[in-house]
């Protein structure tokens, strides 16, 4: 299903003989509206439209060339068949292709986990306040245990939020997964001690739940750098609320530049937010979506597949 912006673009091009710079321009305006309403960041929208335009104009030139081939031979017959795609369908398909290509990775499937060569694999979860990190930590621990048969250790490294440690303990209890806590210690110390324990006791994956923080909070961003320095996580996931608006670009860029993310998790996708932030974050960090949070309960975590999110953003 396409949002009204994309439908408007398609209708605008219906009956058009071929895609040209002029009719593409107004169709692009409709798509622009659709993407902005889906909360894709403005600079990302501009880049995306530029690529779609180049591809659409470029391909229409190719199609025209193919159409002029003699239709006597078999190959020509096939080429002619491919030209029978109408311009408006062609345009929408280019948008979908560009979007899917942007969201996915080269192989098209989910991204492989960067397992540690020896010792436990460390996952660090970071992000803004309330984005779903603690809940995702529980979900991820459960998933790694169930799907990859690795023994997980959850680490309560949020010492600021009232009852944050307790929240993770309740989740751990529900899942039968150990939660490491170290009252009175700083988050870098907690993570360091947890890692050592994991190493000696044979925990195979360690999941660090950190406190929510603003990317502009200098001391807290420095704290993340310290945790990273001590524990060297193999995976650092930015956990992002799917409802996030234009700020996705600033936040993702800052977290990525400061501490180097290896992917992001988009949460609360069981709502009706279009999740355009996924496109923005992908563009600005170069990292892929790794998981999707699809509900409050702990089994509601899915591995990311690009086509699903692309069609959601399109409407």
């Amino acid at each position: 299903t396409l949002s009204k912006g994309f439908r408007a673009a398609r209708e605008r091009l219906t009956g058009v003989a071929e895609l040209s710079e002029e009719n593409i321009e107004s169709a692009l305006r409709d798509v622009r509206m659709a993407l902005l309403e889906a909360d894709v960041a403005l600079p990302v929208v501009r880049q995306f439209l530029q690529r779609v335009k180049e591809k659409a104009v470029g391909q229409s030139v190719q199609l025209r060339a193919k159409a002029e081939l003699p239709t006597g031979d078999k190959l020509g017959e096939k080429a002619l068949k491919s030209v029978e795609v109408t311009p408006e369908y062609h345009f929408i398909r280019i948008c979908q292709e560009e979007l899917t290509a942007l969201m996915g990775n080269a192989e098209g499937g989910p991204t492989e986990i960067n397992w540690a060569k020896k010792g436990p694999t460390v996952f660090m979860l970071v992000g803004l306040q309330g984005s779903g990190k603690t809940t995702t930590a529980g979900k991820l621990a459960r998933w790694l245990q169930k799907i990859h048969k690795r023994k997980p250790l959850l680490v309560a490294a949020d010492i600021y939020r009232p009852a944050a440690v307790q929240q993770l303990q309740v989740l751990g209890e529900k899942l039968g997964i150990t939660v490491f806590t170290a009252p009175g210690k700083s988050p870098p110390e907690i993570c360091d001690e947890a890692y050592r324990l994991a190493y000696t006791k044979g925990y195979e994956v360690v999941i660090l739940d950190t406190a929510g923080r603003l990317a502009i909070d200098e001391p807290l961003m420095a704290e993340l750098e310290q945790i990273r320095g001590r524990v060297k996580p193999q995976e650092t996931f930015l956990v992002v609320d799917a409802m996030i608006g234009q700020d996705a670009v600033n936040t993702a860029k800052s977290f990525h530049e400061r501490i180097g993310t290896t992917g992001f998790v988009l949460t609360k996708l069981d709502g009706d937010a279009r999740g355009g932030a996924a496109l923005s974050i992908r563009e600005v960090t170069g990292q892929p979506v790794r998981f999707l949070g699809m509900g409050e309960s702990l089994e509601k975590l899915e591995e990311f597949r690009p086509e699903g999110l692309a069609s959601r953003i399109l409407g």
Binding site: A163, Q166, K174, I244, D247, R274
Partner: protein, 278 residues
């Protein structure tokens, strides 16, 4: 040939950049630009300062809702219900508000109406301790309505001034969860037919256009009377509130500007618009 007067194209591009990246949204931004176009002369439309002055005035106008000032003394006990999607900042806002009202000499009691999420009650209890106010809680996984009912009854019995009811976060698309809130309202009315006296929707200012759907749905189900816009200490501008306040005619009452107990401010449209466009 009378061609419609336009905002200079380069200036319009710049303006769009500022308004759209502030999450004002395409529809509200167009509305603001239309006001600029119609209220300024051809010459003025090239003058950046003149254009900005109309943008700011129109933005303030969108935020000005004709609503009486908040008066926690108009009923005793005054019952405030706090609702919103997951993670918006409800529990933290309640802690801050409890402290503020206590500081004004009011006797406040909190109702731990989130009986669902892990450690939600414990979180509110810590805020209660910080604000120096009691917290009424039920048994784990129990009915939120009965906890809130109990808190109101206790406030009536002990002559307390304000009851603030926390509720579990919920996405507005979940019909059964929205129905649970409707039930909370009905049960509150059993304790006091005039209550709740205010229902605050807590909105996270980092949200984009989805905040509009949230606000519409919560208002439809629950007669929302006020909005709290949280996390304005971050880089998000919360511009989506312009369209929301205007469309739903609900006033923004407070803004959250941090995670500490004192980080709550009464909403001021002039200050907000200045910061929005700085």
């Amino acid at each position: 040939l009378l061609r419609k007067k336009q905002i200079d194209a380069d200036l319009l591009n710049q303006l769009e950049e500022v308004l759209l990246t502030a999450d004002i949204g395409v529809k509200t931004a167009s509305r603001i630009f239309e006001q600029v176009r119609s209220s300024l002369s051809r010459q003025e439309l090239k003058d950046e300062a003149a254009v900005w002055s109309v943008i700011k005035a129109e933005s303030r106008k969108l935020l000005s809702v004709d609503a009486p000032p908040l008066d926690y003394a108009r009923q005793k006990p005054f019952v405030l219900l706090v609702v919103g999607v997951n993670g918006a900042g409800k529990t933290t806002t309640i802690g801050k508000l409890a402290a503020q009202l206590t500081g004004e000499g009011k006797k406040v009691i909190l109702a731990a109406g989130d009986t669902f999420r892990a450690a939600a009650v414990e979180q509110l209890e810590i805020w209660g301790q910080r604000a120096g106010v009691p917290v009424v809680k039920g048994k784990e996984g129990g009915d939120p309505s009965s906890v809130i009912f109990e808190a109101i009854k206790r406030a009536q019995k002990e002559g307390l001034d304000v009851v603030i009811a926390d509720t579990a976060g919920r996405l507005h698309v979940k019909a059964e969860l929205m129905e649970e809130l409707a039930k909370v309202r009905r049960v509150i009315k059993k304790a006091d037919p005039t209550a709740p006296h205010e229902t605050f929707l807590v909105l996270d200012s980092t949200n984009g256009q989805n905040a509009i759907a949230q606000a519409r749905t919560f208002k439809e189900m629950l007669e929302v009377t006020g909005i709290v816009l949280t996390k304005l200490d971050g880089t998000a501008k919360g511009g989506v509130i312009l369209g929301i306040a205007h469309e739903l005619a609900v006033p923004v009452r407070y803004i959250g500007i941090g995670e500490k107990i004192q980080d709550l401010r009464a909403f001021d449209a002039v200050d907000f618009v200045d910061v929005l466009y700085e």
